[in-house]
Structures are given as structure tokens and as C-alpha cells.
Symmetry: D2
Subunit: 158 residues, 4 copies
């Protein structure tokens, strides 16, 4: 069986509280051995990568621009798409489940495309009230929900 891949989505600008919760999400994913995939830039993306790397995890950044070097320093593997926001669709296809932390329109767009593709989506202080999104109250709960869904999918239960 392949690696477990979890997307973390959120804006390039984030509150101090959002940075800490995203970092904690990343840390927990790294501890569990999941690969973190994100948009590879700053804000929530950087915080989550940082936490994941601090826990020894692997981080995949799917970048909007033409060169891998625009990745934040906590991306362990950078994919340069040169496709702008269309790279969000690639993140949704690549992740087996996604966790949204805070976020703006770009995050909403990615949550919606993930739902359209049938990927489980967990929200942490993100867009409320979206049908089909699981709301979590903490980083621990968000990671548990995402990994639980992937486990059930792998066992054919979801």
C-alpha cells in the first residue's frame, strides 16, 4: 500500500493563532508518518510544512510558479506547475483527505473541488456550514478525522 497523503490548505497570510494550529496539524501528520501535501508557499502552508518537518515528516509543495525555489523552506519536495490556481486541483487529486485551516476564497475553492472529487474535507476555523465538510475543534481532532477517513477508505468501508 502506498503512502498516506493528507492535504493542508489555507491562505498565504495567516493569524498568529492560525499559524500555531497549522503547525500543530503538520506536526501530528509527521508523527503519524503521513506525507503532507500543500501549495508550498507561506502562511498556513509554511506553518504546516514546518510542523511536519519538525516531527521528521515529508512535505510536498505543489507550487503555482515555474521554479521549485519559490517553495517555503520547510518543503522537502517541490513540484513547480506554472499553472497558478489550477495547481489547487492537483492538490485535491493528490491528497487522500484534506484539512482546511482558516482560509479565504482560494481555500474555499480548494475545499469545494475536493468535495466534488469525493475527498474527505476537515475544517479548522475555516469556511463554516459547507455540506459534507467535517468541522474539527482542534488540530488533534482534525488529524484524527482525516486519518480515520483514509483508514476506512483503505479498508473499503468508506
Amino acid at each position: 500500500m502506498g503512502k498516506t497523503i493528507v492535504g493542508v490548505i489555507g491562505a498565504g497570510q495567516v493569524s498568529a493563532a492560525g499559524y500555531q494550529v497549522a503547525r500543530e496539524v503538520g506536526r501530528l501528520l509527521g508523527e503519524k508518518g503521513a506525507v503532507l501535501v500543500c501549495g508550498g508557499l507561506s502562511g498556513v502552508m509554511e506553518a504546516a510544512c514546518r510542523g511536519c518537518r519538525e516531527a521528521g515528516g515529508e512535505t510536498l509543495g505543489i507550487l503555482p510558479g515555474p521554479e521549485g525555489k519559490e517553495a517555503n523552506p520547510y518543503v522537502s519536495l517541490a513540484v513547480a506547475t506554472n499553472m497558478g490556481h489550477a495547481r489547487n486541483v492537483i492538490i485535491a487529486h493528490t491528497a487522500q483527505a484534506l484539512i482546511a485551516v482558516e482560509g479565504e476564497y482560494g481555500t474555499l475553492s480548494e475545499m469545494a473541488i475536493a468535495l466534488k472529487l469525493g475527498r474527505p474535507v476537515v475544517a479548522l476555523n475555516s469556511w463554516p456550514g459547507l455540506d459534507g465538510v467535517m468541522e474539527a475543534a482542534s488540530a488533534e481532532e482534525a488529524v484524527a478525522l482525516a486519518l480515520g477517513c483514509i483508514g476506512r477508505m483503505n479498508n473499503g468501508l468508506l
Copy 2:
């Protein structure tokens, strides 16, 4: 000055009432000489193309698959992307304003990406309560709002 291009977005399956309102949106755009751009498939996309063509207008279908022939019969020009949902991002870049009719996650994703790109977005019985979206009560109002925004942008007022 180039052509006015308005996106009409919505699901591939639509209620009878939604079909009629989308067709009316298309008809009004055709009468005003605007080019209609959409995803080129069935439901809201077909209804809007049909109305636009019935009024003598031009319809551009940005398709998810590899061949133009999957377009609905009211698409006057078919662009085959073979990029699935990533073609929604192309629609948002190509349209100067967008009108959402009803719709599901795919529509929400497209509204969010259009807002992210700074395109005016009008909603007709679509996702409610999105910051920055103009809600319209009729096809006439939706088209007037979209064309009004494009006019103000062309005059440097928006």
C-alpha cells in the same frame, strides 16, 4: 476594445426552473452582444448556450475532456482542455464577469476562484451568503449586474 465575455456557471444537472432561468440569462447575453463562456456540457451550461444562440450570440465551451465533440449542441466554439476541473480556472480567467445559476460544489469552486481573481460574480439561486458575490433575483438583474461591472471596469471605474 475586445469582446465582452461573460461566464455562466452551474451544474450539469439542473431543475426545470433552473434550465429556464439559465436559458434566459443566455438569451439576454446574446441580445447584448456579449460572448458567453461556460464549461460546455449539459444542464445550466447547455441551457445558457441555447438561449444565447437563439438570440444570435456566440458561445464558447471550455471542455474538461480531450475532444471538442463532447460539447453540447449550442456551443459555437469548443475548446478541449483534457484538464478536468482545472478547466474551471480557465473559465474564471477568460470571463470578465461570471453569473452562477443554482449549482453544486463545482460551481462553488468556480465562484471562489473567480472571487480570488477579482472577477465580479453574480448569483442566481446559487450559493448564498458568499462575501463579495452580488445576489440577483432574476435573469434580467443578473445580466444587468454583470454587464454593469464590466462597463465600469472598462471605464476604469471599478
Copy 3:
């Protein structure tokens, strides 16, 4: 039956002779009622669009950047992809046959992807000796070869 769509591919910088031959290709396509699709920028793309419009034809520009306004002035309909060179793949999917005029690596890449997709490819002073490419000695011959292939495909003969 839908419109006949022919791609014209070539570099953004072109010799004076190349400009004239591309303009002639465009003119002949416009006279025959074919839609011309290209990358929408300067050089061969501009020359071909210019000729096609001068003959009353329709020109579709599939642009690499985020806004339609970067199109050359002879593009009648601009699709903004924001996908850089990946837009070349969209041109190959959208065209029913392609004509290459002169050209560099970008043109070669597009010829190869079109061949991979099974699209007929005609070369006019372009990359020589590519298996499966039809070489033409004049704009007239190039357009006749491209339209002939499309006609045979439409009749199920190719």
C-alpha cells in the same frame, strides 16, 4: 457538424518571410471558413490571425497568461489560461489539424504533442524530418493538406 478548427503554430519571433507565409495561411483559412486557433501572441501567431481576420475569419487565441488583453490585436476571441506552455496541449486538443510555420522548441513541442494525440500536422519551413508530419512547400499546399485531412476524418476515411 461543428466548425472546422485549424491550429497555426510557430514562434513569437518570426522572419519577414515567415510573417508573410503565416499571414497567407491565415488568409486562406479565413476564406475557407475555418476557425484559426493559436497561442494568441506575436510573430507567427499574430501574422496568421491577421490574415484570417483580413479574410473575414474567426481567430481563437489560447493565451499563456492570466488576462485576455495580452492577445494580439487580430485575436477575435481570447481564452486566458494562466498555464504557460501547458496551453500548447490545449491547442493540440482543440485543433482538428495543425500547421507549423518555422518555429523553435515551443513549436516542436506542440508538433510532437499533436502527433501524440493523432492530429494531422503540416510543416511549412518548420522542423524537418519528423515522422508523420506532412511537409508543404507553400501556404496553399499547407492549408489544402490540413483541410483535406479534416474532411477525410469527418467522412470517417482517416
Copy 4:
């Protein structure tokens, strides 16, 4: 400094000799600590991934379809693009240098786009006579040429 990422490109069907040379290329890249990026499917892609993994290396597969599970079994990290051949452009942006092994039109298209982007391209029994491509006589030479170019680029010498 980030990881060294080398693309290996070639067809999904390969000769027995081509399979062995691609596997050897992968093995050498893995031994040198380079990450191998490829299209993630069969043939040359599978052979190169296999060799790289056998040497303890990391392999990134940029897939054309919607799900990571279509990757060959030697891909350690799968990115699902759902973008068909447009994923080749992503490989060219992501790799710092590319090695082509045998190959058909798809490979030619990728070599051309890589040259267009200024990436060093090495050919092993692949398309001959392309300006700007370095031809190698063995897997050892191909890997030495690719890594040499990346080293000089990292030192600002290329």
C-alpha cells in the same frame, strides 16, 4: 540548498535493452541521492523508478490521471494531476535537468519543452540531432552529464 531533482522521460512501452538502461539510470541517480521525477507509468518510467528505489532513492511520479493509485509500484510519491499530457510540462518545470531514454512523440514533446524552459537535456538512444541536447553513450555518462549541469547551475556557472 534543496534536493537535486532529475527527470527521466521515455515511453510507456520500451525495449528490453531500454528497460535495462533506464533502470541503470535510476539506480545511479538513487546512489547519488538525487530525487527522480517522471510520469509515473510503465516502460521507461517504471524501469527508472525501479532502479532508483533499488538504490534507496526517492521517486516522484507526476501522473496523467485523477488518482495516485495508477502509479507504477516503484513510485514513492505520486502526484495525480488529471491533466493528461499537460503533466509533461510540470515535469519539465520540476526537474533541474532531464534524461531521455529512447522515446516517441511524447518524449520528444517533453524534451522540446524542457529546452524551451532552459533545462539541460541529455539523450540516451533517444531523438537524435536536436540542437542543445547532450547525447550520452551510457547510463553512467547520462547521469554524470545531468548532475554536472545541475552542479554548475547551483554554483552560478551555467
